[in-house]
């Protein structure tokens, strides 16, 4: 059981060069795999490929294999993919259906399309809204939300599908610090309690420091660094790869860089 990418290369339709690959990656149930990297290093493409959306929906050419729980992603039909992999796009406006009058209906849109009984749809919608604490937004018009609220609604609409794997492209980019923490906790819970496997693209490495088991750093579509989260987060090559290290790592570096000895008291102060 896992999403498995084996020597995958992918190029978009009309492009002569590969946007991604060669890449090997494994996302197991209950694990959080963080993805970092500079802009245009292939993070979003990796999400599309791992979710089976590219090339099935967006075209292009894929070499190598993407298997979801042992099944070749290319053989799965859209509704089968949707129940296995929940994909959260980078922008809420891409995700939302723009057909519903309230946030409640928006979040119900996915489960309804799965043909679930009404009672279960309702139960799932409240579960998803509660997970990111936006129950109060339920009666609001999805077109009249702030950027961050829209992002939480989009995430709730994916959670309501209860997919086995969650593939999330910068889910906290427009959230305030508290909202960011809330989403991190909700994802950690989804992995621990429901056994969801999570592929999480993030520029905020503090989020990955908090919940990722392992981290992959991309450069020009290929893996530049990978390993246990703590190891990758402390890697001195991060900045060269266009990735801002977590605040604690930066602060320790600045102190040492000023010729000041790093002490246990300092380490405790940044905990």
């Amino acid at each position: 059981m896992a999403i498995e990418l084996a020597t995958v290369r992918y190029r978009y339709a009309g492009s002569t060069s590969a946007a991604l690959g060669p890449i090997d990656l494994r996302v197991e149930p209950g694990r959080v795999v963080g993805v970092a990297g500079a802009n245009e290093s292939g993070k979003t493409t990796l999400c599309l490929v791992a979710a089976g959306v590219a090339p099935a929906v967006v075209g292009g050419k894929l070499d190598g294999s993407v298997r979801i729980d042992g099944v070749d992603a290319a053989t799965l039909r859209p509704h089968e993919l949707a129940q296995r992999c929940g994909l959260l796009f980078q922008h809420a406006s891409t995700q939302l259906s723009h057909t519903t009058a309230t946030v409640f209906e928006e979040v119900a849109f996915g489960p309804c399309n799965l043909g679930l009984p009404v009672a279960e749809v309702v139960e799932r919608v409240w579960m998803a809204l509660r997970a990111v604490r936006i129950e109060a937004l339920a009666p609001r018009d999805p077109a009249r939300l702030s950027g961050g609220q829209g992002q939480l609604v989009a995430l709730a609409s994916v959670l309501a599908l209860r997919p086995r794997y969650l593939i999330l492209d910068e889910p906290t980019s427009e959230l305030d610090p508290a909202g960011t923490g809330l989403v991190a906790d909700a994802l950690a819970r989804a992995a621990a309690e429901t056994g969801a496997g999570i592929l999480l693209v993030e520029h905020k490495l503090d989020v990955l420091a908090r919940i990722a088991d392992e981290i992959v750093v991309l450069e020009h579509g290929a893996v530049a660094l990978s390993g246990a989260a703590t190891t990758v987060l402390a890697d001195p090559r991060l900045e060269d790869l266009g990735v801002e290290p977590p605040a604690a790592v930066r602060l320790e570096r600045s102190v040492r860089g000023a010729g000041i000895e790093w002490s246990a008291a300092l380490a405790k102060a940044i905990e």
Binding site: Q149, S173, I260
Partner: protein, 322 residues
């Protein structure tokens, strides 16, 4: 700390002659386009920004602002922070006239902007949207960036120079002929920023400019802010990135539920005494501020101030850097 304390110099009284006079009655030229291609500073005077007890409710009844009072002096650099949905974007849309208050008024240079058409305000206030896709429309990057200054009356070499400089500033100098939608999101966002920069407005407003940017992109945005502030322009940015806020802005305005609840320098807003209020606004102080307070170093909102305070303490204790 009081609501929007005017801790940034005395608030000048509006000239009596202009009080209540519609801004449209100003001599022509004051609101008109800046025509010089010279990039050193805004060619027109930078107006102060004032919100007087501004309240705003959206048509569906959502109340977004409640009696916001705020005065921003010419050339100030101000970050606006707060919870999602706290009214930040709504607030800045009042400064360029995209939204008009339900109650209260907005003044530029002491004049009520109510009678001033939004197209005229566009020459004074540039606002880069949070979502670039709501702003971009052209088929070429250079056309996109030229749109604003062209509407301000620029033509020919002066226009070309504006476009070139703005693209250079955001690191898109080599993408002039590209279709904006062939750029990734982060670069579309920089393009939206360039198209506002090209207008060289005395007031520059950026709605979450660092969202989706990697470390290099954030550095670009910081440069843009520093340059605009260095030229004496007023820069107002909405951000959730507390490091960016603490390092790039001299003043921080904190919003909660449509009100301004804290207003001061980063040293004040991120000081331990304000943490309760910050957390109530769903914000967290930057790590150097937290670490500085724990070590009794005082207010250290940035890495630089933290390291400096640490070095001072060690010097006092007679320990020289190794």
């Amino acid at each position: 700390m009081t609501e929007s304390s005017p801790s940034h110099g005395p608030r000048p009284a509006a000239p009596a002659a202009s009080a209540g006079a519609p801004a449209d009655s100003r001599p022509s030229g004051t609101v008109g386009p800046e025509t010089g291609a010279d990039r050193a500073g805004p060619a027109q005077a930078v107006p102060s920004v004032e919100l007087e007890a501004v309240s705003f409710a959206y048509p569906d009844g959502t109340r977004a602002l409640t009696e916001v009072g705020l005065w921003i002096g010419p050339g100030e650099s101000v970050a606006i922070v707060g919870q999602n949905g706290s009214g930040k974007s709504t607030l800045v849309r009042h400064i360029d006239g995209l939204l008009r208050p339900t109650a209260g008024c907005v003044l530029l240079d002491g004049r009520d902007i109510r009678p001033v058409h939004v197209a005229r305000l566009a020459g004074l206030v540039g606002l880069a949207f949070q979502n670039p896709d709501r702003q971009l429309f052209a088929g070429r990057v250079s056309t996109e960036v030229a749109f604003g200054p062209r509407n301000l009356g620029l033509r020919g070499a002066a226009l070309d120079e504006r476009v070139r400089a703005a693209l250079e500033d955001v690191g898109l100098g080599r993408e002039a002929g590209t279709n904006p939608y062939d750029l990734g999101y982060s670069r579309r966002k920089l393009l939206a920023l360039a198209s506002i920069l090209a207008m060289r407005t005395p007031i520059l407003i950026l709605d979450e400019p660092t969202t989706g940017q990697d470390a290099r992109g954030v550095a670009r945005v910081r440069q843009v802010v520093a340059r605009a502030a260095g030229e004496g322009r007023t820069v107002i940015a909405i951000s959730h990135d507390m490091r960016f806020v603490a390092e790039s802005f001299r003043r921080v305005v904190v919003m909660r539920d449509g009100r301004v609840v804290l207003d001061g320098a980063p040293e004040v807003v991120f000081a331990e005494a304000a943490w309760g209020e910050l957390r109530a606004a769903y914000l967290e102080p930057p790590l150097p501020a937290v670490a500085g307070a724990r070590l009794g170093l005082g207010a250290t909102p940035t890495e630089g101030s933290f390291v400096a305070a640490l070095a001072r303490r060690r010097a006092k204790a007679g320990v020289s850097p190794s």
